[in-house]
Every structure is written in structure tokens, then in C-alpha cells.
């Protein structure tokens, strides 16, 4: 058997497993001139294998044009996609089939402007692809293909074939793990869009299912416990971001349980689980249990790391916010100051963690009526967040909101309204229109409008806010009750009675 024949044979199974690959090969073998094809494949590594399989069986050359370098260039001045492809093909045989990979880098789901710019460009320049007179196969992951189909309908409508190349079952877990690694890197650095979070959830659930299937629940190895607890924890935090509190609590409780089974009760891993679960309980209004968990987690952390470690600061800070929510402002202040001090000493005064601590302490000071001091700290925190995360990050929205609250108390309502509107805009983009954060912002904004006498506007905002609160938090949650109370007051002032 010759080398090529052996190589060919090693790909045979792929054409059996993937009937669409066989169809694509058939088409490419026969097509003349321009034709547009889309191959849906979600995994670059697998895609490479499929391309090699085609290459080994196709009796004409293949030219692969990787688009990702374009995504690195300035959007205003970069060459067009077709122009770039044409240039890459300058010395390629006229008989070659063109495979285009990496276009998804120009179609980021978190950046709608950029996505629209790319799809518009592709749509109106479709004729220039045709003019190259070569068969073109765009290899795209599912989301990018759908985006292209819906937003560049004139280009897409020229397709001769779309080929679904689903990765095989046994590869799913590997792929999910690789995705986990890349997302982990970016998770803390930037905010994920809603679509990205949805995909992230799929990846995590898939990994969790694989981890559970591989483990013996009666005799869980420590490595497996760590993996499962980590996945449960990530899912829990994801649901928390989405304000699906009950789900978040379930996942974080499961994560805690597994960690407790696998580790001694004073292991730092348990402290983290306790802390995260407490966070959800606090948001659910269960302050007593949240406090109990945090006191436990703080103790573990102090014993493990010593009392001046940044890890300890996080627990202190969370405990402080529980105290604040419970109305115990003096204790809250002591803990928040301690947390701030630790972080400033160990991380430097411009670290984003310091911003979190500043915000928390400033909130306590505001509640204590020390408005000028609170304002200074809020401003410092906001500046750090703007520099660290850029102007459109939800952390910045929180900072703006905080600053607005103190400006309001300082008698500067118009300034406060401006900041709140800005923060509302950021959060709407980050969380969607229907999220407890939005309810919170609407409530704050409404209170200001009410003070200025804009009762009708205030009422509209409060109604929107109340609807969201009820949906996510239920009627009995403290936030829901606050919003309801505010709405009642406004209605009364408007002379409306008794329709709620």
C-alpha cells in the first residue's frame, strides 16, 4: 500500500461518520467557478482533521485562508474580507477550492456593532466574492453561521450547500475542557455577553455530566470531588449573575456538600464554597444564614492564611455587607475598614479588589450619614474600576449608582440622575432589560424623580421595577417590599388609590 493510500484509508471512517462530509467532497469535486458553501463545525481541532480528510481525497488543491489576522487590525482601516482573501490567493492555482476559516473572529457576539459591521460588509460585497470565480467554503461555528445567515441574508441566500459537521460524542468532553480553559482565562477580565453566558452554561453542564458519569458517587476521589465542586460552583455563580437565585443556591449547596465530603472541615476550599453560598443567601434576603456561613468561612480563612491575607479580606467584606443589610452599621464599618486596609497593604491602592472594598465601606459611611467621606471613597472606587475594566463594565455601573446615591443625599439630584441614567444604560446592555439589577437602578432613579416632582415618570419606572422584583425575588423579598412601598407613596401623591 502506498503512503497516500494508507492516509486516505485512515480518513475513511470520517466519511462514514459524517455523511455531510461526503456530500461536501462530492460537490467540491465537481463544482466549477464560484459557489458558496458553509460548513458548520464548532471545534477548530476537529475542523483541521476534516479538512485533511478532504485534502487526501480531493483531486484539486485546497487553499486555506485564515481570517483571524484581520480581527487584530483596526476596523476602520483594515482591508475588506474579500480583498484580504483575494490577496492571499494571488499565487494560488485557479483550480483551487478556497476554505475560509476564522471568520467568527470578526463576528463576536459580545460586540453587536462589530458584528453588524462585518455582516454588512459581507452582504454588500458579496459580488466581489463571486468575481473571484472560485468555490468558497466558509467554515463557521454554529452561532456565527446563524448570525451571518440572519444579518447578511443576501450573501447567505447564495449558498449552494450547508454542511453540518457535528463533533463526535466522545470528543464532547475534551472540547468542553479546552473551552473551560480558555474561558477561565477571560472570565475575570471581562464581562460575558448573554449569548456567551448561555454557551458557557452548556459547556459547564456538559462537563459536569461527564464528571458525574465518570465518578463513583459512593467513593469519590479527591480529584473528582474538586472537579465536580468547581463546576457546580461555576454554574452556581453563573445562575447568580442571571438572578436565578433558587438554582444558584442549589448548585452552590451541592458544591459545598461535595467539598465537605472530600476535605477536612477546615480546608480553604470549603471557605470559598461557604462564602459563595452566603452571597446567594444574602441576595435572597436570608441574612441570618448568610452571616452564619460567613463567620465560619472567615474563621477557616484566618486559620489557613493568617489574618492579613487578601483572601481573608474578601470574607470580611462580605460579612460587612451582611451586617450592613441587617442594620448593624457599626460592626459593618469595623469589618469593612479592616478589609480595605488588608487589600491596600497587600495589593496596592489601585487594585480592583480595593475598589470593591472602598465601595462597601463607603456604602456603610453613607448609611451612617458621613456623606462627604462616602463620596470621596466612591469616587476613588469608580476611578479604579473605570481604568481597570473600561467605561462600559457593570462594575462601573455599580460605582456610578453608588456615587449617585450619595450625591442625592448631598442635595445634587440632577447630577445623580445623570449618573443613574448612565449606569442604567450599561446594565441594560450587560444584563438585559429584565434583571434585578435593572429593578434596583429603576427604583433609585424613580426616587430621585419623585423628589423632583416628576411623579408620573417615577411611577412608570417603579411599576417596571416592581414587575421585575416580583418575577425574580418574589413578593416577600425586602427589595420587592421597598419598591412596592415607594410605588404606593407615589400613587398616593398622584391621588390614585387602591388599584394594587
Amino acid at each position: 500500500m502506498t503512503e497516500t493510500a494508507r492516509e486516505k484509508e485512515s480518513f475513511d471512517h470520517l466519511f462514514v461518520e459524517q455523511p455531510d462530509l461526503a456530500r461536501l467532497l462530492w460537490a467540491l469535486q465537481r463544482v466549477e467557478g464560484f459557489a458558496l458553501y458553509f460548513a458548520r463545525c464548532n471545534v477548530p481541532a476537529y475542523r483541521a482533521k476534516l479538512i485533511e480528510a478532504i485534502r487526501a481525497n480531493l483531486s484539486r488543491p485546497i487553499a486555506i485562508v485564515e481570517i483571524s489576522p484581520l480581527a487584530e487590525m483596526n476596523q476602520q482601516t483594515r482591508p475588506s474580507v474579500d480583498g484580504y482573501i483575494e490577496k492571499q490567493l494571488a499565487d494560488v492555482s485557479p483550480d483551487a477550492v478556497v476554505f475560509i476559516t476564522g471568520l467568527e473572529n470578526l463576528l463576536p457576539s459580545r460586540d453587536e456593532e462589530q458584528m453588524l459591521a462585518t455582516t454588512q460588509e459581507l452582504n454588500w460585497r458579496r459580488g466581489l466574492f463571486q468575481k473571484m470565480r472560485r468555490p468558497m467554503v466558509f467554515w463557521l461555528p454554529e452561532y456565527a453561521l446563524t448570525m451571518l445567515a440572519r444579518n447578511a441574508p443576501d450573501l447567505y441566500d447564495w449558498y449552494s450547500g450547508v454542511y453540518d459537521l457535528e463533533i463526535p460524542e466522545q470528543m464532547h468532553a475534551d472540547v468542553a475542557r479546552a473551552t473551560l480553559a480558555t474561558i477561565q482565562e477571560t472570565e475575570d477580565r471581562r464581562w460575558m455577553s448573554k449569548d456567551e453566558r448561555d454557551r458557557w452554561e452548556d459547556v459547564l453542564q456538559e462537563l459536569l455530566a461527564a464528571a458525574e458519569a465518570n465518578a463513583d458517587p459512593d467513593n469519590l476521589s479527591q480529584a473528582s470531588a474538586v472537579e465536580q465542586a468547581d463546576l457546580l460552583d461555576r454554574l452556581g455563580r453563573l445562575y447568580l449573575q442571571r438572578a436565578e437565585y433558587a438554582l444558584a443556591r442549589d448548585y452552590l449547596t451541592r458544591a459545598l456538600k461535595i467539598s465537605e465530603e472530600a476535605f477536612n472541615s477546615d480546608h480553604p476550599n470549603i471557605a470559598t464554597r461557604l462564602n459563595n453560598l452566603a452571597y446567594v443567601l444574602k441576595d435572597l434576603g436570608d441574612l441570618q444564614n448568610a452571616r452564619a456561613l460567613l463567620e465560619r468561612s472567615l474563621k477557616i480563612a484566618e486559620e489557613a492564611f493568617g489574618s492579613n491575607h487578601p483572601n481573608v479580606a474578601a470574607h470580611l467584606d462580605n460579612l460587612a455587607s451582611v451586617f450592613r443589610d441587617s442594620g448593624d452599621l457599626q460592626n459593618a464599618r469595623v469589618l469593612a475598614e479592616r478589609a480595605l486596609k488588608i487589600d491596600e497593604a497587600s495589593l496596592g491602592s489601585n487594585h480592583p479588589n480595593v475598589a470593591t472594598k472602598l465601595n462597601n465601606l463607603a456604602s456603610v459611611l453613607r448609611d451612617l450619614g458621613e456623606l462627604q467621606q462616602a463620596r470621596i471613597l466612591f469616587e476613588r472606587a469608580l476611578k479604579i474600576d473605570e481604568i481597570t475594566f473600561g467605561p462600559n463594565h457593570p462594575n462601573v455601573a455599580t460605582g456610578l449608582n453608588n456615587l449617585a446615591s450619595v450625591l442625592k443625599d448631598l442635595g445634587k439630584p440632577q447630577k445623580a440622575i445623570n449618573l443613574l441614567e448612565q449606569s442604567l444604560k450599561i446594565d441594560e446592555a450587560a444584563f438585559g432589560l429584565n434583571h434585578p439589577k435593572i429593578a434596583n437602578r429603576l427604583n433609585s432613579l424613580a426616587c430621585l424623580l419623585k423628589d423632583l416632582g416628576e411623579l408620573q415618570n417615577a411611577k412608570n419606572l417603579l411599576e417596571r421595577s416592581l414587575e421585575i422584583c416580583r418575577q425574580f425575588l418574589g413578593d416577600e423579598h425586602a427589595h420587592t417590599r421597598t419598591v412596592k412601598k415607594n410605588l404606593d407613596i407615589v400613587r398616593k401623591e398622584l391621588g390614585e388609590t387602591g388599584n394594587e
Partner: protein, 439 residues
Amino acid sequence: MNFPVHTVDEAYGACIPDEPLASDDPRYVDVNDARGGDSLTRVIADRIRRTPAGRFHQQLISGHRGCGKSTELQQLKARLEQNGIFVVYFDAEQALDLGEIKYQDVLVAITKAIEQTLRESGIELNSKLRQELDAWFADHILLEEKRTDWEASLKTEFGIEAKVPLLARVLAAISGQIKSGSSRRKEIRLKVERELSVFVDRMNTLLIAARQAVQEGNFHDLVVIVDGLEKMQFREEKDGRSNHSILFIEHAEQLNLPQCHIVYTVPIFLAHNDNLRDSFTDEPFILPMVNQNSEVGQTALRQVISRRVVIEEVFADPSSVDSLIAMSGGSVRDLLRLVRSACEGVSDLIEPINVERAINRMTIELDRLLQDEDLDALIAVARKGVVTSYKIAGKLLRLRLVHEYINGERWADIHPVLRNVRRVKEALAQDALKEIEKN
């Protein structure tokens, strides 16, 4: 390739979904009767012919993507030329940034297309006039300090040695800057807007000279056809107006300024807008889909295939073609795509199973285009058999999930393939149930 072809391999090459046919292509089928409306070529050629001297006919044309618009415009161009009319045809796709078109861009592009078509046809303009126009465009539209820039950029468009008149180069520079989306685009638009009356005056000077020049040849009139504008990206502004209505309705007056007969293509759902109808001389001509349910429609669509392939030699069961026609929704493009798709993987004859698979694949693709939020609007069209609100159904028409037809009156239906999509099936069943309960 000699049509019709005899084998599946050749059939794959004979059915191309992205190719408008030239006016003399042997594959061309006149499906106008099957569309249920008048012939686009005949109607518009007549309207132009009947326009009294000294006045000009402005015509809007619309139709679904893939319904054969560009092919019909090629037919129109050929017919007009036979009638002794000089035709300036240009595709906005090649000339403009369809992502963002302003009326100024269209006027500049028309000016450029006229100059270019004349030059390419070897028709000379009066050289004194040419110099005047050149000086004006260069001084008023191109900014002084940028002159060196465009001289450099022109080299790429024409090559350094090309002997191209200055006017052509100036116009190319202006439209190039508009198209490239550079920061100069805004400045140029502003210039055109500020000096609109003078700009149009120059443009019409060019048109009058062009008409004289073509009359010295063997033509008696001049028509400009602007194809591809319907592909302009749809965007809604904050105040609820769309960029489409801004261009075609609010700036209709400016689009009507060129002193010549002119044909524009417009997005299909805008063609029904009453304000638009008020702004142009005649009714927009809407090219409907072929009605695949009527006998004449089926015959025409069958002919679309039989002009390309010998059905009996390529399909194991010639009645398979009927299923493909039924699933095409009357779209020639979808029909060709279905045939192409059914060929894939076939070594001998296209069997019914190959046809079924091709239909299944198209089902997946239409499912991809349909978003849950549009499901209600889709079901409403299926129930009423007509598009009642172009605001709501605009997206469905744009994505071609809904087709419009004419027989006697206008009607609409969802793309037949969508009835295979599970979400749609379920929603239709539920809707039917509700209707029964109501009665």
C-alpha cells in the same frame, strides 16, 4: 455547456443559485405569465416610451431576493437597447457602501456611472464641457488639500499609465471615498448637500450633453438603471424611522432630480408604503414570486428545470420534480438550489430519497433563520394569507420566510418548507385549535 444536460454531474453545474442570466442565455424562461402579473420588461419599456418629451419617468422596482429581479433587469436593458435607448446600468452593490447609503451617494454614483458608460461605449463628450465639469467637481466636492491623496489612490484604480480623462478620475475619487467609508465620506456628503442645486445642475448638464452625444450615435434617449439598492442593510433609527424610508421617502425628491428616465430597485416591504407611492411617478413594479400552486406556475417552473437538464435522464422518477417545485415556494433560486442539493452524492440517477433529503436540508436552513420572537407574525401570515403589516412582517419578507404572490390580487404565504419545521408545525396546530374554539 450545452443545455439541457444529460447527467447528474452536469446537472450540478447547470443549476446555480447565485447567477442572474444574461439576456441571451438559453436557460432563460419568461415566467411573467406564471407570476400572475404583467411583464416587467413590457410594462416599463411602455411607460418610458409613453412619457411625453421633456419629462422623465421614474420607476421603482421591487421583488423578493432570488425571484429573478436581476435577470429581468437584464431583459429590460436588452429590450430598451433594441428600442434604440442608451442604457446606463449600474449595480449599487459594486458602487456603494450598502451598509450606509445617503441620497448624496446615489447621485454621485449615478454621475459616475453615466460618465463611465459613455466612455466605455466610445461616446465622446464635448471637451470644453468636460473641462468645466471636471473643474467644478474637483474644486467643490474634492477638497483642495486632499487632491494629492486622491491622485495617489487613483493609481490603484486605473493603473498609472491609463489615459483616463480627468473628470473620470475625479468622479472615481469622490465615489471611492464615499464607498470606502473613510472620514472623507461625511465631508463629501456635506458638500453635496450644501451645494445640492449646483451639484444637480452640473449633473444635469452632463446628462443633457450625454443625451446629445448618444443621439449623434444611433440612440434616441437615455435611461439609467440602478440595481441592487434593495440590498441596502435595514436599520431602524432611534426615532423609529428606518434608513430605508429616509433614503427613498424623505429624499425621494432628490432621487428624482436627474433629468433622465431612471429605474431604482427598492426593498420589497418599502414598496408597499403609501408615502413612497406618492413620491414617484408611477406605481412601484413589484415582481411577485411564481405561484407554484397554479398550473401555469408549475409548468413555468418545470421549464426552468427542463431548460437546464433533461429531466427524464437525470431523475429516476420525473415526478420528483413536482415535489421540488412545490417546496420552492415559487422562488427560482430555491428551486435551483434544491436540484443542486439533490444531486449531491448521486452517482447515477436522482432517486426520490435524494429529493427528500434536499428538502430536509433546506428545512434546517429556514429553521435557522426563524427566531422565536417572529413566530407569531409568521403564523398570522399563514392564517390570513396576506401580509397586513409590513412593519411587523418586514423582517420575514427580508429573510424570505414569507413570499408574496399575485393572482388578481396580492396574497402571501409562508415558505412551504417552513411547514416541515417542528416549531412552526406546532404553532400552526395550536393556532388552528384556537380558531376552532373561536367559532
